[in-house]
């Protein structure tokens, strides 16, 4: 097992390095001149040259890459051309916002999805199964921005029940940053009003993002439950007279969750696309918007930073998932 882990780690490093290499050259090969953008439309050649020198953009690509990797290994992700702050600081500010959103969406969507999937699997072939499958498919096929705008129009504008967006009420001071999660930080700081506000602001965007989750999880759980239910050891347990429910919960679900957990890891990457749209509509200051603005402005450092961090997260999640797999599946553990 340790050898397995060691090999995984080596390949993780390889993958991350590959990602930085590809992104670096891809970003710089793309047309667009950030120096021009920063210097401004009315700047003359001298100003543009100065700006270029300021950001080290006048050196050869290989040299630039070398500098970048050197800084990267020391934890320095460079400076964003757009926000003019260190990229690490930007990501530190924006990532927790997206993480808070994604995690709650994942939790909410997954729970609902798992419940739906189990429900459907146990009633396979019945009308309830059909209904559940239809719900699952419909929920993941709905364009996220559409739902987001509808919710905003109805729940905010017409009904006034929930805020339009943003993380806190206008002008409300954020709690001292510990995790970057408004919900947790406000609780830690003992600010109940802020906590309530942060929760109210989370409802609509989380609901929108969770919709796709529900469908995906429901389908996966249903499928893997059906696979497992047909397996020998389940039939043995049933033959021994155990109540169906206990069988389901104890044996089937645990094993059915394995592929679900795997997919959860992969979800992290897929979520990125949908998150940007939701963040834009709900004015959520998250990393989706940051990444999009970076791409639009050829903000190399920001693009690199987001890609590297994204890849690290993806890889870390998968590593955790692999380890979880090892513990959850007895067959692998003892092989």
């Amino acid at each position: 097992m340790r050898r397995l882990l060691a090999r995984r780690l080596i390949f993780v490093v390889f993958v991350l390095w590959g990602v930085t290499l590809i992104t670096f050259f891809l970003a710089r090969v793309a047309p667009g001149d950030p120096a021009r953008l920063i210097a401004g439309a009315h700047a003359n050649a001298a100003a543009i040259a100065n700006v270029r020198a300021l950001y080290g953009l006048d050196q050869s690509l290989v040299v630039q890459y070398g500098h970048y990797m050197g800084d990267l290994l020391r934890g320095d992700l460079g400076t964003s051309f757009v926000t003019r702050r260190p990229v690490a600081a930007d990501i530190g500010a924006f990532l927790p916002a997206t993480a808070e959103l994604s995690l709650f969406a994942l939790l909410a969507g997954s729970s609902a999805g798992i419940a739906l999937g189990v429900f459907a699997a146990l009633r396979r072939g019945s009308r309830s199964d059909t209904a559940a499958r239809l719900i699952a498919v419909a929920s993941l096929s709905m364009p996220a921005f559409w739902l987001a705008m509808l919710l905003q129009l109805v729940v905010y504008s017409r009904l006034g029940w929930l805020p339009f967006g943003g993380r806190l009420d206008t002008g409300m001071a954020p709690p001292p940053q510990v995790t970057g999660f408004m919900t947790i930080d406000s609780l830690l700081a003992g600010q109940p009003e802020t906590f309530v506000a942060s929760v109210r602001h989370l409802v609509l965007p989380v609901f929108t993002l969770a919709m796709a989750e529900v469908g995906l999880m429901a389908r996966i759980v249903r499928t893997s439950m059906l696979e497992v239910i047909g397996e020998d050891y389940i039939r043995t347990a049933e033959a021994k007279g155990l109540a169906r429910r206990r069988v389901v919960v104890r044996h089937a679900l645990r094993n059915a969750l394995l592929p679900a957990v795997t997919v959860l890891g992969l979800e992290a990457a897929l979520l990125a696309g949908g998150v940007f749209l939701v963040e834009t509509i709900f004015a959520w200051p998250g990393i989706g918007r940051y990444a999009y603005d970076a791409i639009r402005a050829s903000d190399y450092n920001a693009i690199m930073g987001v890609t590297v961090v994204g890849a690290v997260i993806y890889v870390a999640i998968n590593l955790v998932v692999d380890i979880a797999y090892l513990y959850l599946d007895p067959r692998i553990r003892y092989s």
Binding site: F14, A30, R133, S141, T223, S298, T307
Partner: protein
């Protein structure tokens, strides 16, 4: 109790009669499968015949008719250039299916080949291919697609390339996994012992058993590809005007939800409808083809 998997499926080259029987069985398995078949059929019909049936040329600009609500002349209303929305939505079906077909063809060919090679040859080749696959999977898809679009110029063809790059790893993984598990199956070992050549084993035993999984994945992926294409167009990285791609239409329509609800709604519905159709199809196929899900 372990039956040779090959016997559970129709062999390649089965007669038409057997195929129709299979299809009927598929549809009869569940009401959802029937629904899936009908919906997919509609989408394909729209894609193939849509432009012929469209009442107006999809790109015809009539500024005076802009943002007209649905009426008997314009069943879906008009967009912000006075173009007939129904015609554009129908043309969009063709575009979306075209893109999905090309992207998935490339992905399947590249992914399956690499996956099969990895699974069959094993060893260092397997490791190398898997690491490359991991690399592509670890890449945030949006950034990759955006970078490609920025480098090669935003266009539908660039989208196709970008999406193919994102989707092929899944097929590589899928096929490799299947090949690995099939390799050790008795009937394959038996065939080897009997002296069959690798190419024959691949043709007769591996392909028929891997094919169902690939088909299921394909039908599910059609939905994802279409959603991704529209997401890229939404971000300005995909289809260029005046191409009536659904995602591009949604981008333009976004600000009109309050004042001209038909403009974002009909392309959005078409999109959702199509994705639902293919997802249901994929689900149904999986239920039907996956032996592990068979009723006992």
């Amino acid at each position: 109790m372990i039956e040779p998997l090959a016997r559970s499926f129709r062999r390649p080259g089965a007669g038409l009669g057997r195929r129709l029987a299979g299809a009927r069985r598929f549809v009869g398995l569940s009401r959802l499968n029937l629904l899936a078949a009908v919906l997919v059929g509609l989408v394909v019909l729209a894609a193939v015949f849509g432009e012929l049936l469209a009442p107006f040329p999809p790109n015809q600009i009539t500024l005076l008719d802009r943002l007209k609500p649905p009426s008997s002349i314009h069943l879906f209303g008009t967009d912000d250039y006075g173009r007939d929305l129904l015609s554009r939505v129908l043309t969009g079906a063709r575009i979306s299916l075209q893109v999905a077909t090309i992207v998935l063809s490339i992905s399947v060919v590249v992914g399956t080949t690499l996956g099969a090679v990895a699974g069959l040859v094993g060893g260092l080749v397997d490791e190398a291919i898997m690491r490359v696959t991991d690399l592509f999977l670890a890449f945030p898809a949006l950034i990759l697609a955006a970078a490609i679009a920025a480098t090669l110029g935003a266009d539908l063809s660039t989208t196709v390339l970008a999406l193919a790059t994102v989707f092929w790893p899944w097929y590589a993984r899928l096929v490799r996994g299947q090949v690995l598990s099939l390799r050790e199956r008795e009937f394959v070992l038996a065939a080897r012992v009997a002296g069959a050549r690798t190419s024959r084993i691949v043709r007769v035993h591996l392909i028929p058993n891997v094919l169902p999984f690939v088909i299921v994945q394909l039908s599910l992926d059609v939905g994802y590809v279409i959603l991704s294409t529209s997401a890229l167009s939404f971000l300005g990285l995909g289809a260029q005007p005046p191409t009536p791609e659904w995602g591009a239409m949604l981008t333009d329509a976004r600000g009109y939800l309050r004042d001209a609800w038909w403009f974002p709604t009909f392309p959005g519905l078409a999109l959702a409808f199509t994705v639902v159709a293919f997802n249901l199809l994929g689900d149904g196929l999986r239920d039907w083809l996956d032996p592990r899900l068979r009723r006992r």
